[in-house]
C-alpha cells in the first residue's frame, strides 16, 4: 500500500537578492512498512524534503499525500492535528521537553491525542522498556545521556502510533555505540510494528540497515535504490 506520495515537489526561497532552489521536481512514493533513507551531501535538500513531507514547511509547488490525504492543501490547524495522529518525528537533537520526565515526554503526544490515562501510561512504559530505558523513565532529559534522550524520542514517536516516522539525522550527535543501539531498536520496532521510517542521514550505519536509499543532489532525486536486507539487518530481523 502506498503510504506516501510526493508529486512534483519544488521549494524555492529568497536569500537576499538571490532565489535559492532547494528542491525541484521531486517525485517519490513510499509504501507502508518501508525503512528508507534519504541521503546526499549537505545542502542537497534532505531536511527540506523531510520538513515538507511532515507538513512543517510548505512547498513552492507540487503536493504531498500521506495515506491518500493531501497534506499540502490542509489548513494549519488541520495539518497540526494530522501530524499529531499520523506522523512521528525524531530530530537531530533537543528532542525532548526539558521539564518533563522521560515517561511524561513519551506520554505527552498521547495526552494530546486524548488517549485515556491508563492506556497512555501502559504504552509509554512499554516503549521505554523496549528502548532499554525502563529504569530511568522518571528522569528528566538533563539527567539522561544524549543516546538515552534519543531513545526517549524514538519511544515517543512510536508510542503515539504513527503511520510514518520522519527522522532527521537522529544519530548525528551520538557516539558509535549509542547510534548503533538506537538504529537497531528502530529497525526492530519497524519490523514488529510495521511502522514506516524515512530517514535523512549521512550515517553509513543507517544506510546499512535501510531497504531503500534515495539519493538527493542539488534538490533533485539522483537515484532511488531498493535493495535486499543487509546481513546485519537480517541478523536483527
Amino acid at each position: 500500500m502506498q503510504l506516501l506520495q510526493v508529486q512534483g515537489i519544488g521549494k524555492r526561497y529568497r536569500q537576499g537578492e538571490l532565489e535559492v532552489r532547494a528542491l525541484a521536481d521531486v517525485e517519490l512514493t513510499v509504501t507502508e512498512g518501508e525503512f528508507a533513507a534519504l541521503v546526499g551531501p549537505s545542502g542537497s535538500g534532505k531536511t527540506t524534503l523531510l520538513n515538507i513531507i511532515g507538513g512543517l514547511d510548505a512547498p513552492s509547488e507540487g503536493k504531498v499525500l500521506v495515506n491518500g490525504k493531501e497534506i499540502t492543501a490542509m489548513p494549519e490547524a488541520v495539518l497540526s492535528s494530522f501530524r499529531l495522529f499520523e506522523l512521528g518525528f525524531i530530530f537531530q537533537a533537543y528532542n525532548l521537553v526539558a521539564v518533563l520526565t522521560a515517561l511524561e515526554n513519551v506520554e505527552l503526544v498521547m495526552v494530546l491525542q486524548g488517549r485515556p490515562e491508563r492506556e497512555r501510561r501502559e504504552r509509554a512504559r512499554h516503549y521505554l522498556e523496549l528502548v532499554g530505558l525502563g529504569k530511568v523513565m522518571d528522569r528528566r532529559p538533563s539527567a539522561l545521556s544524549g543516546g538515552q534522550q534519543q531513545r526517549v524520542a524514538v519511544a515517543r514517536a512510536l508510542a503515539a502510533g504513527p503511520r510514518l516516522v520522519l527522522a532527521d539525522e537522529p544519530t548525528a550527535n551520538l557516539d558509535s555505540e549509542n547510534a548503533t543501539a538506537l538504529l537497531d531498536i528502530m529497525y526492530k520496532l519497524s519490523k514488529e510494528e510495521k511502522t514506516t521510517f524515512l530517514f535523512s542521514t549521512h550515517d553509513a550505519r543507517v544506510m546499512e540497515r535501510a531497504q531503500r536509499i534515495i539519493t538527493l543532489r542539488d534538490g533533485r532525486i539522483e537515484s532511488d535504490e531498493r535493495r535486499e536486507q543487509s546481513s546485519h539487518a537480517r541478523a536483527l530481523a
Partner: protein, 433 residues
C-alpha cells in the same frame, strides 16, 4: 503491544487538559529558579508596600471621616431642604416631635440626636465675634462625647442648664473669657428684630480644629431653642434645626440613607448622608488619595514589566522547544494558553506573597498603629476635621478585592505579549535555531 493497538483514537483536534497545562506552566516557571524568585520577590515586595501604603491612607482617611462625622452632623442628617446651600436661623423643622416619631418608626439602628444650629454674635465686654451656637439635646450626643475629653478648663454643662455654654479656646482668647464669664449671644430674626440670651462659660475645650475652637458655642438645646421661639416656633413641638443620625454600623450607611430619603424627603425636609453634607472633605480625601493611586500605578507598571521580562525571556529561550511541540501537533492556541498560564501563575504567586508581606504588615499596623504626632505636631487638622496622632492601617474587604483585581488584571495584561510571541513560533524556523 502490536500495531493493532495503534491508531485506536480517531483523528481529531489536539487536546491538552488544563491539569497538564498547569503542570507544564508551573514547571516552566521554575526552570530558572533564581530569576523567577527575584521577579516574584520584587513584585511581591512592591505590592506589599502598596498594600501598606493604601492601608495607611485608608486608615488616616477613615479616622478623619469618623472624627468629621462625630464633630459634624452624623452619618445622616435630616434637616430643612435648602439649609445646606443657604443656612439661616429661621430655617428650622417646626415640628421636631412629629419628625422624631417618623424617624423612630423607621427603626434606624443607632442614635438620633436633635440639634439646633444658629448663627449668633457672641459678646463680652472685651470683644464681639461671630459664632455658631450649637444646641445639643444630651451629654451623650456624639459631638459632646467627642469634645468632653478635650476640655482644658471648667466642666461640661449639665442637662437642662439653660445658661451654660462651652466654648473653644480660640473663641475664649478672642472674647477674653474664662470659665464663669458671661457671654451675650445675639441673633437677628427674620422680621428684622434682634434677640439675645445670656450664657455663662462653663468650660473651654481644645478640639484641635481651629475652625471649631474659634467659632463654636455649645449649649443645652433648651438655650438654643429660646432663639427659635423668638422666630415664632412653638416650643411644645420641640423645634430643631436638624436630626443628626449616628449609625451603629457605618457600613449600613447606603441602605439607611436610602430608607430615610424615601421615608422622609419632602418639599421641606431632606435626608443627606455625610458625603452630601461635607462635599469639600470628600473632594479633599479624593485628591489626597490620588498620591497613593499613583504609587499603586507605579507598582502595576513594575508588575507588568517584571512578568513580561521573566516570561518573555523564558519564551525566547524555549523557541526550539515550542517548535518541537508545534511539530508534535500542539496547536497555536495551546501554546498561547500555556505561556499565558505561566504569566498568570507568576502573577498569582506574586499577589499571594505580596498579600503575605503587605497583609502581615497591615495586620501589625492595624493593631499597633503608627504615631505620626511627632511628625505632624499640631498640624493634623484638615477640612474641619482632624487626624488622631496614632494612625492605624485599615483595609476594607472591598479594597482587598479591588487591589487583588487590579494586580490580577495587570498580570493578565502582561501575559498577552509573551503568549502571542510563543504562539507565532513556526516549527521549521524554531527547529533551525
Amino acid at each position: 503491544m502490536s500495531t493493532r493497538t495503534l491508531h485506536t483514537t480517531a483523528p481529531g483536534k489536539a487536546r491538552l487538559p488544563l491539569a497538564t497545562m498547569l503542570m507544564l506552566a508551573w514547571r516552566n516557571l521554575w526552570r530558572h529558579r533564581r530569576r523567577t524568585v527575584v521577579t516574584l520577590v520584587s513584585i511581591a515586595f512592591g505590592f506589599g508596600l502598596a498594600v501598606v501604603m493604601i492601608g495607611f491612607t485608608d486608615g488616616g482617611h477613615n479616622n478623619m471621616i469618623r472624627n468629621a462625622i462625630k464633630l459634624g452632623e452624623g452619618h445622616i442628617t435630616v434637616q430643612p431642604r435648602g439649609y445646606l446651600e443657604n443656612p439661616a436661623n429661621h430655617r428650622y423643622l417646626a415640628d421636631g416631635k412629629a419628625l422624631a416619631s417618623q424617624i423612630q418608626a423607621l427603626g434606624v439602628p443607632g442614635s438620633v440626636e436633635p440639634r439646633i444650629s444658629l448663627q449668633v454674635l457672641a459678646s463680652t465686654p472685651a470683644n464681639s465675634v461671630g459664632a455658631g451656637l450649637e444646641g445639643l439635646a444630651s451629654v451623650d450626643d456624639a459631638r459632646a462625647k467627642m469634645l468632653q475629653p478635650r476640655l482644658i478648663d471648667g466642666s461640661w454643662f449639665e442637662p437642662g442648664d439653660e445658661r451654660g455654654i462651652v466654648i473653644g479656646d480660640g473663641m475664649a482668647r478672642k472674647l477674653k473669657a474664662r470659665v464663669g464669664a458671661k457671654v451675650v449671644l445675639m441673633a437677628g430674626t427674620q422680621g428684622g428684630d434682634s434677640q439675645a440670651q445670656l450664657g455663662r462659660v462653663r468650660g473651654i475645650f481644645d478640639s484641635r480644629v481651629d475652625e471649631m475652637d474659634d467659632f463654636l458655642v455649645l449649649a443645652d438645646i433648651g438655650l438654643a431653642r429660646l432663639f427659635l421661639q423668638g422666630e415664632g416656633a412653638d416650643a411644645s413641638l420641640a423645634p430643631v434645626t436638624r436630626f443628626a443620625i449616628f449609625l451603629d454600623d457605618p457600613d449600613a450607611l447606603a441602605v439607611w440613607a436610602q430608607k430615610l430619603k424615601t421615608g422622609l424627603d419632602s418639599d421641606t425636609v431632606v435626608a443627606l448622608d455625610w458625603r452630601e453634607m461635607m462635599p469639600q472633605l470628600v473632594q479633599f480625601l479624593f485628591i489626597d488619595a490620588a498620591g497613593s493611586y499613583i504609587f499603586l500605578l507605579l507598582i502595576l507598571v513594575l508588575v507588568v514589566f517584571g512578568i513580561v521580562n521573566t516570561v518573555l525571556m523564558s519564551v525566547l529561550e524555549r523557541t526550539r522547544e515550542f517548535g518541537l511541540l508545534r511539530a508534535l501537533g500542539l496547536g497555536r492556541r495551546h501554546l498561547l494558553l500555556l505561556v499565558f498560564l505561566e504569566s498568570l501563575l507568576l502573577g498569582l504567586l506574586a499577589v499571594a506573597v505580596g498579600w503575605l508581606l503587605g497583609g502581615g504588615a497591615h495586620l501589625w499596623f492595624a493593631y499597633q498603629g503608627v504615631n505620626i504626632g511627632a511628625l505632624m505636631g499640631d498640624n493634623t487638622q484638615m477640612m474641619g476635621t482632624f487626624m488622631d496622632p496614632i494612625v492605624y492601617s485599615e483595609l476594607s474587604w472591598e479594597r482587598v478585592q479591588q487591589l487583588t483585581l487590579l494586580i490580577f488584571i495587570a498580570t493578565l495584561a502582561s501575559g498577552i505579549y509573551p503568549a502571542i510571541k510563543a504562539a507565532r513560533v513556526t516549527p521549521v524556523q524554531a527547529l533551525r535555531t
